[in-house]
């Protein structure tokens, strides 16, 4: 793996954002908007009585952390789609850039995109609602990392589907993680889900992360949930890598890399 090749592809995206302020604005737009909508809802809840204080914090924490997963997933998938939209994939795939170097570049760009989007929202939550995400303690880094990794393997799945089905699958880049949101227990504990859906929720790292977040808000670190999140992420990431490797090879066999934009 050559860092210069990874930087080459990263530079392509950084150069794009450097000369397109609407794109940078779009990165921050949704996290900030979500934070405003849910933040004011949470403040309204806090004003009603003493009890909902914790619920309001859980709501704000949920909004912020869910954006980490969402922005990480979209950061990878949309950066890949940028290559497809610009009909540039043919050039990229005939360069010495290995598929894994391309993925590494997309992950690093996604990390930068995620921070660009989420950090202003975290700051806004502190300024507007006096909610400090970092008051959860060092465990917040683990929550952050697990959701980011979940976003990445979901994005690998989306890219695999684009390689398989072409640009017709690109809508998944925006929608797929929203489909997982009800099972991720972002705003409510897993226990409120119907019994039949709970195993699905518990198979997702995100459900464990948000259970861990709610526990952390009460001052308890639930290492069991964190361990589940890490283990499940390892499993799903392996699955994502396997799927991508298979679909990339299949695309090279079917000739899909020649007309993937169609």
């Amino acid at each position: 793996m050559r860092l210069r090749r990874i930087w080459g592809l990263m530079y392509r995206h950084i150069a794009l954002y450097r000369r397109s302020w609407p794109r940078v604005l779009e990165l921050m737009y949704w996290p900030v908007l979500q934070m405003c909508i849910w933040g004011f809802t949470a403040r309204f809840l806090m004003m009603r009585a003493n009890g909902p204080m914790l619920a309001a914090s859980a709501l704000l924490g949920g909004v912020l952390l869910w954006e980490v997963a969402l922005r990480s997933q979209m950061g990878v998938a949309i950066s890949f789609l940028e290559e497809l939209w610009s009909r540039n994939l043919g050039h990229v795939f005939v360069s010495p850039l290995r598929p894994w170097e391309m993925i590494a570049a997309l992950l690093l760009i996604s990390f930068i995109r995620m921070l660009t989007g989420v950090l202003p929202a975290i700051l806004l939550a502190f300024v507007f609602y006096a909610f400090n995400l970092f008051s959860l303690g060092p465990v917040v880094v683990l929550l952050f990392a697990n959701l980011m990794i979940m976003g990445w393997w979901v994005a690998l799945g989306v890219i695999s589907l684009i390689l398989r089905h072409g640009a017709g699958a690109e809508a998944l880049a925006w929608s797929v993680l929203f489909g997982l949101a009800p099972f991720s227990a972002v705003f409510y504990p897993v226990s409120v889900l119907p019994a039949a859906l709970q195993p699905i929720a518990l198979a997702l790292p995100s459900a464990h992360v948000f259970e861990g977040m709610r526990a952390a808000l009460s001052g308890v670190v639930r290492w069991d949930h964190l361990a589940w999140a890490v283990g499940l992420n390892a499993l799903w990431t392996a699955g994502g890598i396997l799927l991508f490797a298979r679909q990339f090879r299949s695309a090279r066999t079917r000739g899909a890399l020649l007309n993937i934009g169609e």
Binding site: Y11, H91, F93, V94, S95, R98, G255, L257
Partner: protein, 240 residues
């Protein structure tokens, strides 16, 4: 390459073709639409896995060591674009990094001078004319001083003046660098001017080959376009 075959289900896109290009020579792939030119180039570049056969480029087996070969190859096609919002210099920088080009900024300036890109080096690639885009695509294809250059219709959609300039640059680069060029083109004048050897493809097979003068002689024609039409319209036996 030897015994190269590509099958898509029932369709045989490339059927057991074999050829070799000596270093520093220019080979043309000629044939009508669907003859197998693009498929052959895609297999040479590793974009497509052959159903059968072996490809060896610069001594590297493409099935095992394609990235080592790709670092010394490059490619240009009007059907593959460069990111339109990035400037010409930024695009060249991206590919310079991907190919590990040393002294990249100096190389970009050198190409800008050779291909006359200076006036629009910092303009977004999407705002360029067809002729300017072709020159930028050629600059991208030359950024790593390739030993093997694959060109798919390098002068398509260019006016005669720009087309002639591009052909001149290609000749100069080949003569100065000893680069091997594989060219797919429908411009027969271009093929006659640039190529040492021509492969005539039809329905995925090599139906004839030779140097342009040898082909003209064999078919008793004045130009390659007439030879092309003879082959396309099954007048091979009558003419040969």
């Amino acid at each position: 390459m030897s015994g190269l075959t590509k099958r898509y289900g029932e369709v045989l896109a490339v059927n057991d073709i074999s050829f070799a290009v000596p270093r520093g020579r220019t080979l043309a792939l000629l044939g009508g639409n669907g003859a197998g030119k693009t498929t052959t180039i895609a297999m040479l570049l590793g974009l497509l896995i052959p159903t059968a056969g072996r490809i060896c480029v610069l001594g590297y087996d493409m099935a095992r060591s394609r990235f080592a070969a790709l670092a010394r190859m490059n490619f240009s096609s009007p059907y593959v674009a460069l990111p339109s919002r990035l400037s010409v210099a930024e695009n060249l920088r991206v590919y310079g990094h991907l190919y590990g080009v040393k002294h990249l900024e100096a190389r970009i300036l050198e190409l800008a001078r050779q291909l006359d890109l200076g006036a629009f080096l910092h303009r977004p690639a999407g705002q360029l004319s067809a002729g300017q885009k072709t020159r930028v695509a050629l600059a991208k294809a030359l950024i790593n001083h390739p030993d093997v250059l694959l060109l798919d219709e390098p002068t398509a959609s260019l006016d005669p003046d720009t087309g002639d300039m591009v052909r001149g640059w290609l000749e100069r680069y080949r003569d100065e660098s000893g680069c091997t060029i594989l060219l797919a083109s429908h411009n027969m004048g271009e093929v006659e001017r640039l190529c040492d050897h021509v492969l005539m493809l039809k329905q995925g097979r090599i139906v004839d080959q030779g140097s342009p003068p040898a082909l003209l002689d064999r078919y008793g024609r004045d130009d390659l376009e007439q030879v092309f039409l003879d082959i396309a319209r099954n007048r091979v036996a009558a003419a040969a």
